[in-house]
């Protein structure tokens, strides 16, 4: 909504300070690794040095005898239940049973009195492996001569998708111009600053786990299933979380192995991954090989698109099944066209498992599409922004794959981005070696369907007002992983009730005390958890107004609440403080509480995979970057980035822009700096933060983040997502800017100085 409209609200639309900021800047905030529980043991995991090997024998006797070691476990000591995300792809176990499928796979574990003893014990475990040939190249994984990694996936095919909408062949025949280009994405990973960590406690038949988690609910669901416990006997508590980005959406060995060790010893067990283990666990970005064919009319209107992909899934399927569908599902979102074919193979390799990372499968296809659209524009003699305007999605339309778009201000984003970047004065007019380019994206605001089949609402909330009426506590299962959901949900609760932000307290998240929520992923919480919170707040408001009507002898319809005052509209002198009414409510009726829950409407088409990509709402963004290339070294300096977002109503402007800044920073890292690389035996060469290069404060451009006016009817107060949307345009944006600067196209990520230099050399040779 517009700024003017936002002014009519008391709490939302304001950049209030984060509710947890003080704890974080003083060091008081406790993350899982900071917690200590009486009697706690330290757990450590023995990991495979081989990418693919059969486990012939494990001798733990020496390790068991080391003083200070409480227990050593292998697969025989833990449930052999297979787990994963989709039941059809449950392919992982707590500890490897017959084979290890990647360097870093989990083989055995130790619980000891201290870390040093646990690490020593690991070195005393003797494992006999039969090393097997490994599958390391995703493009060859399906070949006949390749070893099969999982017994149930023939030719190492994890997921195979064939979708066909309309008639692409006919569309291409009717096109004035058809281009086919091949792009190669990079294997990247989340790098949350806080490594995975969990403390597991087994007491009286009940498991309690403190975990650095993005979803206590999903953790509770999976862990109870694997250990054969009822969900009520598994309590997952979320302390402060130091970043997730998709990598902490499912339990890792920190929880599974930790729980197993806790059960075996009867003592709490803490497992904290070291940075290498975070790389081994991974669940990060799939490297996608994309062959994209697009046909357009003479005016640049897209008629049809064919995407043919092979994506590297790594060892276990995990959330990767959804990633493969997302890679195609979002392609028809931001530009309108009617004919689309999508063939995708997600394959297994003996490398760390890939799953969901910010943007979930969509950034690399966007890189391909945005790059190709620029190439098409050039062939047609069209400006890159013009061709995008010709095709831009409009509001209240349906995509060809049955995704329902309500609000959409994509064209306004393009116009504004063009204006604030000075595009017209710069495009084609910058000195040699300098360039300007555009990339666009759009993303879901929460997934239409949960990760496992269930009829549970997607979010729920409870608000309890204190007996004195002076504060209110919001209980939610939604998870703040740094994006600020605690803050904005507290703002929403205060707004809905009619009290101040400072009066709010928040409890989040504990499966035993806070109501169900699916957690922080797919950019769902502002809309979905927000709906539940708004509903809960409004129920409190209704009860207060009812009682106040009695106390003030007024009509319910004439009453309102704002900033802790209940008053008669039009006669504000007829008023009562909120606390007074709330206190009176408690005296007469007991606890004053409000409840809310939210389930999205039934969305999506009927074809296979139709559920993926569905969402109550979609965000849109246009990003423009300006670059300077040192042609002699290939070094690219991104000097400025302008991002214009359509994300609906803004609850907290500072936090929103902070999300844009962070999201495009991650996009930048993947676009230019980051790649996980391995040796020819499948061992990671850069499983550390020295050689896996996350950009530093000296590497980042000046960022200008702006919004367009937008209101989303499906969102509480008109909200939409922003946390992932700004990662999507970046890779294409930079590739296009670099092309503008040096006249050469680079088709594979990351856009390193060496690649840019080689491209320049190649161009020189041709001319």
């Amino acid at each position: 909504m517009s700024e003017a409209a936002a002014r009519e609200f008391s709490v939302i639309g304001k950049s209030v300070p984060k509710i947890d900021a003080r704890d974080k800047v003083t060091g008081r905030a406790k993350y899982t690794g900071d917690l200590k529980v009486t009697g706690m043991l330290i757990g450590k995991i023995l990991r495979s040095p081989h990418a693919h090997a059969r486990i012939l024998s494990i001798d733990t006797s020496k390790a068991e005898k080391l003083p200070g070691v409480e227990v050593v476990i292998t697969a025989k000591d833990v449930p052999s239940t297979f787990y994963g995300i989709s039941p059809a792809r449950y392919d992982e176990t707590i500890l490897a049973i017959e084979k290890v499928l990647q360097v870093g796979d989990k083989v055995a574990a130790v619980a000891a009195l201290d870390e040093e003893t646990a690490v020593k014990a690991l070195s005393l475990i003797d494992v006999e492996y039969e090393v097997l040939p490994a599958v390391l190249d995703p493009l060859r994984a399906m070949d006949e001569d390749q070893p099969q990694i999982h017994p149930q996936y023939e030719r190492n095919i994890s997921v195979e998708i064939h979708q066909n909408f309309g008639d692409v062949e006919k569309a291409f025949q009717q096109s004035h111009l058809v281009r086919t280009d091949r792009f190669q994405g990079n294997r990247a990973t989340h790098v949350p600053m806080e490594p995975h960590a969990a403390i597991s406690k087994w007491e009286n038949g009940k498991l309690t786990i403190w975990s650095s988690t993005q979803s206590p609910h999903y953790f509770q669901y999976h862990i109870s299933r694997v250990f054969g416990l009822k969900m009520g006997d598994v309590r997952v508590i979320k302390p402060f979380v130091g970043g997730g980005f998709g990598g902490k959406l499912e339990p890792s060995a920190a929880e599974y192995v930790g729980a197993a060790l806790a059960m075996k010893t009867g003592r709490p067990v803490k497992i904290v991954f070291d940075r290498r283990e975070v790389f081994f666990h991974n669940r990060g970005r799939h490297a996608q090989t994309i062959e994209l064919t697009t046909g357009v009319t003479k005016e640049g209107k897209i008629l049809g698109v064919y995407g043919n992909y092979i994506i590297d899934g790594g060892s276990y399927t995990s959330l990767g099944i959804a990633s493969a569908y997302y890679a195609g599902a979002m392609l028809p979102l931001i530009y309108e066209f009617d004919h689309f074919k999508f063939d995708c193979f997600r394959v297994h390799t003996n490398l760390p498992s890939c799953a969901a990372q910010r943007g979930h499968g969509v950034p690399q296809p966007r890189f391909a599409f945005e790059s190709q659209l620029d190439m098409i524009a050039k062939e047609l003699g069209m400006d890159p922004i013009e061709i995008r305007k010709v095709n831009a999605r409009r509001p209240d339309t349906m995509t060809l794959n049955d995704l329902k778009v309500n609000s959409c201000e994509f064209t306004a984003c393009l116009d504004k981005a063009r204006k604030i970047s000075g595009w017209v004065g710069k495009k084609g007019k910058l000195p040699p070696g300098q360039g300007i380019g555009i990339g666009c994206g759009g993303f879901i605001t929460g997934a239409g369907y949960p990760i496992y089949r269930t009829r549970l609402p997607h979010a729920a909330a409870v608000v309890k007002v204190s007996e004195q009426g002076d504060i209110a506590t919001l209980y939610i299962g939604a998870v703040d992983i740094g994006q600020g959901s605690d803050t904005i949900l507290a703002q929403m609760a205060a707004e809905a009730i009619g009290i101040n932000y400072e009066d709010m307290r928040i409890v989040s998240a504990d499966t035993e005390t806070t109501p169900h929520d699916f957690g922080a992923y797919a950019s769902r919480q502002t809309l979905m958890s927000g709906h539940a919170v708004k509903q809960a707040g409004e129920e409190v408001r209704r009860q207060i107004i009812e009682l106040a009507a009695e106390l003030l002898e007024a009509n319910v319809a004439d009453l309102d609440i704002d900033r802790r005052v209940v008053f008669v509209k039009g006669s504000p002198e007829k008023m009562m403080p909120f606390e007074t009414v709330a206190n009176e409510f408690f005296i007469r009726k007991g606890p004053l509480m409000g409840r809310g829950s939210y389930t999205p409407p039934k969305l999506g088409g009927k074809f296979k995979g139709a559920a993926v990509g569905t969402s109550p709402a979609y965000s849109f963004a246009a990003q423009i970057s300006q670059v300077e290339v040192d042609e002699e070294t290939g070094q690219v300096m991104v000097t400025n980035v302008w991002d214009v977002h359509d994300c609906g109503t803004v609850i907290n402007p500072d936090l929103l822009h902070a999300q844009v800044e962070g999201a495009l920073f991650m996009g930048m890292g993947e676009a230019m700096y980051e790649e996980v690389v391995f040796d020819d035996k499948g061992k990671p060469l850069n499983a550390n933060l020295g050689e896996y290069r996350v950009p530093t404060a000296l590497d980042v451009p000046q960022v200008i983040s702006e919004l367009v006016d937008s209101y989303e009817p499906a969102g509480p107060w008109g909200v939409k997502e922003v946390g992932e949307g700004a990662t999507l345009p970046t890779m294409g944006c930079y590739a296009n800017a670099i092309y503008d600067a040096i006249g050469v196209r680079i088709y594979d990520l990351p856009l390193t100085p060496e690649k840019v230099w080689k491209a320049i050399q190649g161009k020189k040779k041709q001319s």
């Binding site: 003083t26 200070g68 933060l689």
Partner: protein
Amino acid sequence: MATAIKKGKLHVATLTVNDEEHAALVKANTTLLDLLREEFDYTGTKKGCELGDCGACTVLMDGKPVNSCLVLAVEASGHSITTIEGVEQSGKLDRLQEEFINQAAVQCGYCSPGMILSGKALLMRNPHPTEREVREAIGGNLCRCTGYVRIVKAILAAAEANS
């Protein structure tokens, strides 16, 4: 129930932490990071990579930022250490901490202690830094959430307050 007993040769490490005298018996291979977190319960200092690449473990040693994961406790003995817990004074936040809050420079917060200490050390030796100098001062502190935008703003805002 048995709890950890230190085996092997122990050294006495005496250091001032946040203006308070501390002493501990430590093994030679104990890092300053582990001494602070496990012995003295200063869990505000974070473990991010343990190899000196991320800066989450930054503390000030005699006023200078160091990676506590790469300093042995025995080497730190005799020195004065400031952790994030020592930045606020008698419950009053340092201006820099206030600006981190005001400028929305804190997202997940895991890098924040290290960032604040690097920023504080900078402002102590250079009260009016340029933007470039701020970025250099935090060049060894990785952040995955913010893109550094508001962190730089916060440090510059705190410097403004110095004038």
